[in-house]
């Protein structure tokens, strides 16, 4: 029983070591482009949602016309930059 247990523990330990070090031996050293794309896309969604919230605030009178226009312009600018980056990544 002790032998079986010891063997199982050694097997577990070896699997753990292999699981951790295997990417160092065979993986890619640069960050995959797909990951950057997903990240930028998520940022774009958040900014689009912020524009919607801004419009809502403006319509119920919680924000002045001046602030609304400036805020929407800034968010649109940020989205344009992300779209440009997304094009580059794609």
């Amino acid at each position: 029983m002790n032998l079986v247990f010891t063997t199982a523990v050694i097997a577990l330990f070896s699997s753990i070591v292999w699981y951790v070090i295997s990417p160092l031996l065979e993986g890619e050293s640069t960050i995959p482009l797909r990951i950057n794309h997903d990240n930028l896309d998520r940022k774009k969604q958040v900014l689009l949602r912020q524009i919607k919230e801004l419009e809502m605030d403006h319509h119920i009178g919680n924000i002045s016309d001046e602030d609304f226009n400036a805020g929407r312009q800034a968010l649109k600018q940020e989205i344009s930059e992300i779209i440009a980056e997304l094009k580059k990544v794609s």
Partner: protein, 653 residues
Amino acid sequence: MTPVLGSISLSLGLGLAAISIFLFSVFLQKADYRFFVGGWRAAVLVSALSILATFLLLNELLASNFDIRYVAHYTSLETPTIYKVTALWAGQSGSLLFWLFILSVYTLIVLFKYRNSYTALMPWVIIVLVIVQAFFLILVNFVENPFSPTVADFVVANGNGLNPLLQNLTMAIHPPTLYLGYVGFTIPFAFAIAALITKDTGSVWIRSIRRWTLIAWLFQSAGVILGGWWAYQELGWGGYWAWDPVENASFMPWLTGTAFLHSIIIQEKKGMLKTWNMILILLTFTLCIFGTFLTRSGVMSSVHSFAVSDLGPVFLGFIALILVVCTVLILVRLPILKSEKRIESFTSRESGFLFNNVIFLVICFAVFWGTIFPVLSEAVRGEKITVGAPFFNQVNVPIGLLLLLFTGIGPLLAWRRTSNQAFVRNFTLPILTGLIVFIACFILGIRNTTLVSFPLVGFVLAAILTEFQRGIRSRTSRFNESIFVALKTLISKNRSRYGGYIVHLGIVFMFIGFSGNAFDSELEFALKKGEVKEFDGYNFELVSIQTVERPNHMAWIAALNVWNIQHQLVTRLFPEKRVYFHRDPNPDKRQPHSELDIHTTLNKDIYSIFSGIDTEQQIAYLKIMINPLVWWVWFGGYVLVFGTLISLWPAKD
């Protein structure tokens, strides 16, 4: 064999935490993605092994393996299965392992959720999470190992059993809920540290952690409310909040966490309060660790503290380390934490948020001061001076009412500045409502704090309804929707905002419940079978006293008929007097306990406690309390949870 495997898992987990941190450090120096993947995998294993160790301990608790000291200490053969499970967090080492278990589950979610969304923040986020895991792994490996064997020169046939106060179903839910809150704040903390280190202090990290903060806050809120519910149901003093050190420990991070949830809106929308937000989240996490320290170290005597140990210095060392690192990081990054804009007007939503934040912090400081004062007084003067509930109530009730006022004012203010026209339009109805309630209370002869709290409740309720009405009107005019459709769409399309207003509604309901305290009444008396006692408009008749033996205790059950003055039966109450471990030959080990019974209605609770019995003469010693409006506290809690869930629910893209 299983305990050995448990200990091995914890040791391997600690080793892998060190490897993970090392691999991420190499990645940050060399920018070689392979090291990121290696570090990520090691971090996954740290969590997996910690979770495995927790399940192994749970297995031993269920199997009643008294060879393990923890199992022998907190369970017995008579302990019901559900309480064998809850014994996992009943003691020192088990609860530390449970902390680690929850953090590991959270960490695994972070690791897999952000697996394909690498940002510069992620390596640092994972490093911070693994460091916190490593701290708890050090504790369970070297200070309080839950798998330590029982030290006895005889075969341990049965264990001590669980503290009777913990043998309550609320206790099966309350600690895990609170821990989910405490531990949950580690995620936003990790993102904040990562943002400071990478100098990415804009709104990216704020957006990343908003949902995480809400999740932690939801559990923290539910945990605090459940703690109050447990105290009300189990401790038998008729209240739900006693400003006990452990209660305060759970309340403090809730206060700073709530302040943080409000002020990140300002940063997201206006680019302001960046330093403030950093301080708030770092403070919240530190208070979570401090809360765990208070609960676990035994430094404070508390009705909620079930552990005494020498963990204090280790926890204090960790808290000091967090404070030093965070302070240095904030000081170094001060130039990039400057706000992009300034508050322009006193009557702006920004200043409303800021006032609300300041109030939260003032309450937090008052609670902190009152909580640590006994320890400080003992350290400085050698005499332990305890600060009781009167101090906390005297300080916090007026500030709490001010906070309630700002809960109403905030949403009515416009961003940047509120024009006179908008001010009149938004505030007229709430102020009128508050005034009407005030006059009504005055005419009814109310002269205590409720003369302030009820009008404020009216003001805030009207303010929230005004916000809904403005939103609905906006939709009906723009999209020609019916009122019902407009309300539904308004909430579903603006979940964060309107979920928040529903949370405010919950808080208002809770304040109605708190106000009821001013009208509490109680009476202690003895009754023989068949006798009747009149109190506060009710007649209490002792019908019988029944004796019942259950597996882990002996119970005497008093059957009480409660009649109103019109001689109508209101309810039947069955409070119990119990003696736990009644079969133990050592009388010192038998534990008396009163299991109360409560009749709840919307306007009052009839709270009965069976405090003692004369078995020879069949006399029951009873305590009856009439607690008005308590139901509203729990109802407010449900509404708060419901509102937070709406805020959390993901919006359609």
